[in-house]
């Protein structure tokens, strides 16, 4: 990967970093922070699902681990929140490796893999809800103590920049994967695992690598969530809502692309805010739209928004030459 490869990413992040200078409304900043957290979780999913072709329906398992680890370590053991956050990310990677090892060793793919990840997330949710050390059903409350050294900030802009920095870092990481040998092997596994194996790719190692990184990234999103909202319980951490968000964003934005999850998260949540304003108090309308959007996205734009943009750019290009 050369510097040229990441120029678009760097430029985008630099531009976005100026947003708080123009937008000071906390309503918008709050919306943006939450969208960035979702985007981060989705980027994690995208590495395994978009690039690796292994669709996980239980990414909540990683999100929740990151959230609980960060919350428990600081609330119960008094560990510095920044360090707790880092440990949470590592914990997510570890959980990813374990689930990956168990599933991929047994040769699970496609629907079976989706199901087993769903089951793992559900088991973790039930355990977290029952166990005393996770606070059981009462969850974990992080004490409000607004100091930068405590990973809590007075202004929402600070959270925005941190979330943006993390999203940016993972964008660079994803780009690196895309340009690297590992990425090529991963895509080979996605396209045709048997052929990749025949060509000498260690498919198990590649998939394990992908799920470990994926777990770490989504766990980071979980840790950030915990730090921002200061409360986690079993349904927030391991609930299906985050598994679905992590899948929807890359699908809508563009599976297997670097910017797909970010674009998708912004598009979906932006649409959500608009439908909320328009539909008002009818319950569930916005989620109904999401579901319909997913079906439509798969039907008409299987490459997501980015795919649509690329296609239109290509066709414009050919028109010019015509």
């Amino acid at each position: 990967m050369t510097f040229r490869d990441i120029v678009p990413t760097v430029v985008l992040i630099a531009l976005l970093a100026f947003v708080p200078a123009f937008i000071t409304a906390n309503t918008v900043l709050n919306f943006l922070v939450f969208t960035l957290i979702i985007s981060l979780a989705a980027q994690g999913w995208n590495i395994l699902g978009g690039f690796g072709g292994q669709f996980s329906f239980g990414h909540a398992a990683f999100f929740g681990t990151g959230a609980y680890a960060a919350a428990l370590l600081q609330a119960r053991l008094g560990i510095n929140p920044w360090i707790a956050f880092a440990i949470g990310t590592v914990a997510g990677a570890a959980v990813g490796w374990v689930i990956g090892y168990l599933s991929f060793r047994s040769g699970l793919r496609g629907s079976y893999f989706a199901l087993v990840t769903l089951a793992f997330a559900e088991v973790l949710r039930i355990l977290a809800n029952a166990a005393t050390f996770t606070g059981g059903a009462a969850g974990v409350l992080i004490k409000l103590d607004v100091r930068p050294s405590n990973f809590q900030f007075e202004s929402r802009s600070a959270f925005f920049w941190i979330a943006l920095a993390l999203v940016g870092a993972v964008l660079v990481l994803t780009r690196w994967i895309e340009c690297s040998r590992f990425g090529a092997q991963l895509v080979a596994v996605r396209e045709n695992e048997a052929a990749a194996k025949a060509l000498g790719v260690d498919t198990l190692r590649v998939k394990l690598g992908a799920i470990t990184v994926s777990g770490a990234v989504t766990a980071a999103a979980g840790g950030l969530y915990a730090q921002y909202f200061l409360y986690v319980d079993a349904n927030i951490a391991y609930g299906t809502w985050i598994s679905v968000e992590a899948i929807l964003a890359p699908i809508v934005g563009g599976l297997g692309t670097v910017f797909g999850p970010l674009v998708g998260a912004v598009a979906l949540h932006g649409l959500g805010e608009i439908t909320k304003l328009a539909a008002g108090s009818v319950p569930g309308i916005d989620l109904m739209v999401f579901g319909g959007l997913l079906v439509a996205a798969v039907a008409f734009a299987p490459e997501g928004i980015i795919g649509l943009l690329r296609r239109s750019a290509r066709s414009k290009g050919t028109a010019r030459h015509a």
Partner: protein, 405 residues
Amino acid sequence: MKNIMRPTRRAILRAGAASAAVLAMPAYLRAQSQSVKVGILQPVTGALAQDGEFGRMGAEMAIKEINDSGGLKGLGGAKLEMVFGDARSNPEAGTQEVEKMQAGGVAAIVGGFASPICLAATQAAARYDLPYIVDVGVSDPIVQRGLKNTFRFAPGFGIVTGFALDNLVKLNDGAGKPAKTVVLVHEDGLFGSGLAKLMQTELPKRGFEILETIAHPTPARDMSNVALRIRSLNPDLVIPSSYYGEFVLLARTMQQQRIRPKGVYAVLNGAASNYRFVKEFPEAANGIMDCNHWYDPRNPKALELKKQIEAQGKVFAYNVPLNYSCVKLLADAINRVGSADRAKIIEALNTSTFKDHIMPYGETRFVDGQNMGAAPVNTQVQGNDIKVIFPDTFADAKPQFPVTG
């Protein structure tokens, strides 16, 4: 002769001086005809939509009543204007709505309903020293975080369970101590697990023996095994803390299998003090007791509100009188300090002795954000109606214990 049709120079000067004086008046006096915005936060979409709707109704009725009877007297008749936010049954949306309300210039926020939403929303409001009155949210940490802006009008978990325990003992003693063995049934969420833990430590101290604690998920696919275990253990008392669906299943199964403990003493149960349950399944509901939020049954205003709600074909759930009272509490605070300034409202709430509410709380008294006058009541289904059996000051019936027939 002076032409009275033409204003004299002196008159014009006088009028001019008067206008100048009016224009120079402080803004808030001119704002006598303006309105005070109050944020109402309720989850009206998603899993909690039913409760959110009730909460909104209660708040709306209070606001309408205040406006119709001359507005906020302490501000010269200024009207209350509702800024409604849908918390969508999750804390993220609740936080977003608080931000919107803050941007919209509300003087205070009322509501939240669910504990996770209240935790997040009160914290978000605390950044702006925005007064926040929690309606239901029973989790005790809500008022234990040292947030100056957070007030809870209703009783928290600790108060409710303490009350439930004390009155259980009173009930049992009053009937000659017929009950000794207990089976706890609880949903595995915040209420149920917390309640079970507390009961497990406290009940033995008061002479009860817990035969078994049965946890169940929500939703539960099947409650027949729970009924089976109760039947086999044959306890004197069943103490259930569940949501509506599961408890209805259990109660109906118990009724059909003729499982009749000496009493069913529910705590914070979703169905046991719910008029819909009593209306739809009177035999199963008969005699069931609950310790829960409730209105003051002797308060004429409360009964009037109940009639209004039932005339619309809806159920008079506790969220309605509770939110009604919270809005009135806020209005009273604003009136007392004659200002919609946030810091003054917080101060007014801290010194509030508000009594003109329709909850069985007596005089209001906030200590660290919790209304110490707040308490639940014990109800019992008698004659296809829900009666209050404890405390005596609000009771409108005597407890039937042990339950017969």
